[in-house]
Symmetry: C2
Subunit: 526 residues, 2 copies
């Protein structure tokens, strides 16, 4: 049997994968536009033409409107779409109106009957405003509903999604996720971030996702409810969210709002449309403002930009550039930047997901780029380096890999077992020249002024000091290039406290100094 979720590629905790439903597969990351069962303003054929391969609709609204007729017609005929449909079950209406006229098992049977491909049990969303007691109650009610549904369903043709609740109370999210992970769901979801989103509390959003994801099996797909904005979307993917649903495209449009990469704008404020989608190429901001079709034009644009964001995130995963992508995005809003810094400090979580090698250069602009997995991994595995009696630390002379440099070819024969050359590569620290051609050391792109960042410089210095503890050299010789890199020289002198400092001027001089160091018999203790 085919796996329900196959993962093709990974970066950070983001996955390119395929969720196989009986009506075709959804490629992740994916956003499912929310379709209204009987009052849909943008035609579904338009939505699929953009590229969307799955949609979300609401089973409860369908039940209220069509009743038994829905059972005979089926949801695919009702909304006019033959691809994968995810159905929400009235949980959002519970959040809005307190309760609904149904119960979990009855709703679940209805979702099965109308042919939902990905069905959500009738949950009680935590929301963002209630007390801890109320939040505990929503977790309990949702878990009860999950059990009642899974136990009571006569047959299962839909894939079933278990929603994690708990809201801002992270221990409740953890509790809820652990409990639900023991139930037989095909997929999991995190409830009610919409309200968190509205307050732009992206750090809390990151914490909620991390709390849920660390308690759930990574082999199953993970859905995030109601995130329909390009600003935090790639970050949510990086944290392990595979699918999203959102009505934002139409809700914003009705409100005259135009989504941009970094936020939304009132269409009244725009002089230029910062987009190349078919709508923005055919119409000016003024055209849209004055059009009878304003809502439709805005909704179309909003769908296009969400599509673009999903595609860009997917490509970033493929390239192993998700860190860089999320980092650049994060700089669009201070709350996103704070969230990015929070994520950077929670590297352990990403360790198990991030592939060891992607053939891409490591970009280091400033803190927290020195905390990205590719860097931390080297840091944590430094202990495979064998101790040496004498080490000589060379400046990074820009020849990469050093192993293939003219200097190395001239001194290689002179190196002995108890003498070793290292060079300093910011932000990794000390790199034995023997592995200087290995990814990622040969592919680092660093901002010229990166040592101006004291947070990063201090962390690199700590790394180097820890690395020296592993190497345990009896003698440490620091080579300083007198003709360049004043800042780097100062940094190394301060950090290394070398037993000897050798000044060099040019490549030939470096060759001579290495040769004479290897010949040196006198070894002083540090």
């Amino acid at each position: 049997m085919q796996d329900l979720f196959e993962i093709d590629d990974l970066d950070l905790a983001g996955r390119i994968g395929r969720i196989s439903t009986r009506r075709g597969s959804i490629e992740t990351p994916s956003l499912l536009p929310v379709i209204h069962p009987y009052n849909q303003i943008i035609g579904i054929e338009e939505i699929t033409k953009i590229g969307f391969r799955g949609v979300m609709t609401n089973a409860y609204i369908t039940l209220k409107k069509y009743g038994d007729e829905a059972r005979s017609r089926g949801i695919h005929e009702i909304i006019g779409f033959d691809g994968p449909i995810m159905t929400d079950s009235g949980g959002y209406q519970v959040l809005e109106y307190g309760e609904i006229e149904s119960n979990p098992l009855a709703m679940a049977e209805f979702e099965e009957n109308i042919g939902s491909d990905l069905a959500i049990i009738l949950d009680t969303p935590t929301g963002a405003t209630g007390s801890r007691e109320e939040a505990e109650n929503t977790v309990r009610l949702t878990l009860d509903a999950c059990k009642e549904t899974l136990d009571g369903l006569k047959s299962r043709s839909s894939m079933w999604i278990g929603p994690v609740q708990g809201g801002q109370f992270l221990d409740l999210v953890d509790y809820s996720a652990k409990a639900i992970s023991k139930m037989d769901f095909d997929m999991y979801a995190l409830g009610s971030p919409t309200v968190v989103m509205e307050s732009y509390n992206f750090t809390l959003l990151a914490k909620m996702i991390l709390a849920a994801k660390t308690a759930l099996p990574p082999s199953k797909p993970f859905h995030l409810f109601g995130l329909g904005h390009p600003l935090p979307l790639s970050m949510a993917v990086a944290l392990g969210c595979d699918t999203f649903d959102s009505a934002s495209y139409i809700l914003y449009a009705k409100d005259g709002r135009y989504i941009t990469d970094a936020g939304t704008r009132d269409i009244q404020e725009l002089v230029a449309l910062p987009c190349s989608c078919p709508v923005c190429i055919s119409y000016s901001a003024k055209d849209i403002r004055e059009s009878q079709q304003r809502t439709i034009l805005l909704a179309r644009h909003n769908l296009y930009i969400l599509w673009k964001e999903i595609q860009a995130t997917k490509q970033a995963i493929r390239e192993g550039r998700l860190w860089d992508y999320v980092g650049a995005k994060a700089r669009s809003h201070p709350n996103m930047w704070a969230a990015f810094n929070y994520i950077a400090k929670n590297w352990d979580y990403f360790e198990k997901f991030t592939p060891l090698s992607k053939s891409r250069g490591v970009f280091v602009s400033s803190s927290p780029d020195d905390l990205q997995p590719a860097v931390q991994r080297y840091d944590q595995r430094f202990d495979w380096i064998a101790p040496k009696r004498i080490i000589m630390v060379l400046p990074d002379n820009g020849e990469r890999p050093f192993l293939l440099s003219s200097v190395y070819s001239k001194v290689a024969a002179d190196l002995s077992n108890d003498f070793s050359l290292y060079y300093v590569a910011i932000p990794f620290g000390l790199i034995p020249v023997e592995i200087s051609d290995v990814y990622p050391f040969s592919q680092i792109v660093i901002a010229d002024d990166v040592l101006d960042d004291p947070v990063l410089a201090e962390r690199v210095a700590t790394r180097i000091r820890n690395q020296l503890k592993s190497i345990k050299p009896a003698k440490l010789v620091l080579v300083v290039n007198t003709s360049a890199q004043g800042q780097m020289n100062d940094f190394l002198r301060k950090t290394l406290k070398a037993g000897a400092i050798v000044k060099i001027d040019g490549k030939e001089d470096l060759v001579q100094k290495i040769k004479s160091a290897t010949r040196s018999k006198k070894v002083k203790g540090r």
Copy 2:
């Protein structure tokens, strides 16, 4: 008579404006796609349909191909475009092949004859590889050509553009720009950044633009040759470049390269197209790779993304968000980040351009956001604050503006001439509560962890210490909120060295403490 260049809006040194030519106006910022005079692969009607309103073509190639026929037909008929055409004059060919078969005056007469709207004199580009002596020579030759052309032209119907040379030698750029600014040009241009661009040396690019712009009259439009990439484009606009030309869209396309916001990609590498332009919506990466029309499809996409970048930059100027926009862009590549930091430290240059007030929130994610003009301006104008005998510094309790807070309404009557309340607003420093409702103090959005950035924290501390030197209080009372903001409290205690520290717990307590402080008669020296 209408001004040739009208400026409608400003942000940093970027301008939304209109360059009026006899064939309509070009709205700035603007990119002029380069059109080949007889071998153009993308039809001009397609280019104008995207939105481009002006193009660049090459008068020298036109001369070589059509000779006298070009004089009778005119360049507009030849390339099939009736809008503004800028003509290059063979300078690029000089750079490529050493010399060309013409001379400055003959080329200039030809450009006039074929009806160029914006004509560039035949210059000798500096390039990026030559010695200082060679660079000096290009500056001299170009200045001679400018003089010869302007003196010799029988009549002037075209608008004439004077190209600044000097390349990486910034003193030569300065010299060249000063000399050319004294000549009667309608517009100026900066030569040969293409080669600088190719090495991604964006800091050098920024230095070259700054060197040229500071020596040229800001009232005239400024063109940057050969910058055809979304990555540094907004930065160049922020530095005062109004127009660009580029053949990158077609050169990259011929090479199978697809432009993205953050760089270019080989179309072979793409799994998802990170774009919503009509090409990327209609075709998959695989479709494009396998299409007979590959070059055309790529060129179209490349044009769409360049168009989007210009539009996004224009909208950022309108919103007063150019700083944020360039900053987010800069995080896509370490060399851009270094350039952004370089720009941040050259605030003086922007001082005269940036409007005093734009109704937008000031975003502060981390250093160097504390160096943006809106912040530095307050810093430099702090001396209009009158000295006070006693000052009380309040924590920012999130009530903005403080002037309209319940606390202030209860204590306002008690404040006397020699007693003043300040609150601390990162990154501005001390703000008198009386102006707390003034832009931008009431509209700051700061990352929660911003004080984790020691560079920013230290600059804010220096600001506060300098502000205290202006206020010269005999007594300084620091109010500390015991229930929150531990990091902020520590920062203030360390920075302010207050004569007294008052702990408060809640709003009512704050009201009481302010009242008792105003009643205090005892004033100690610091």
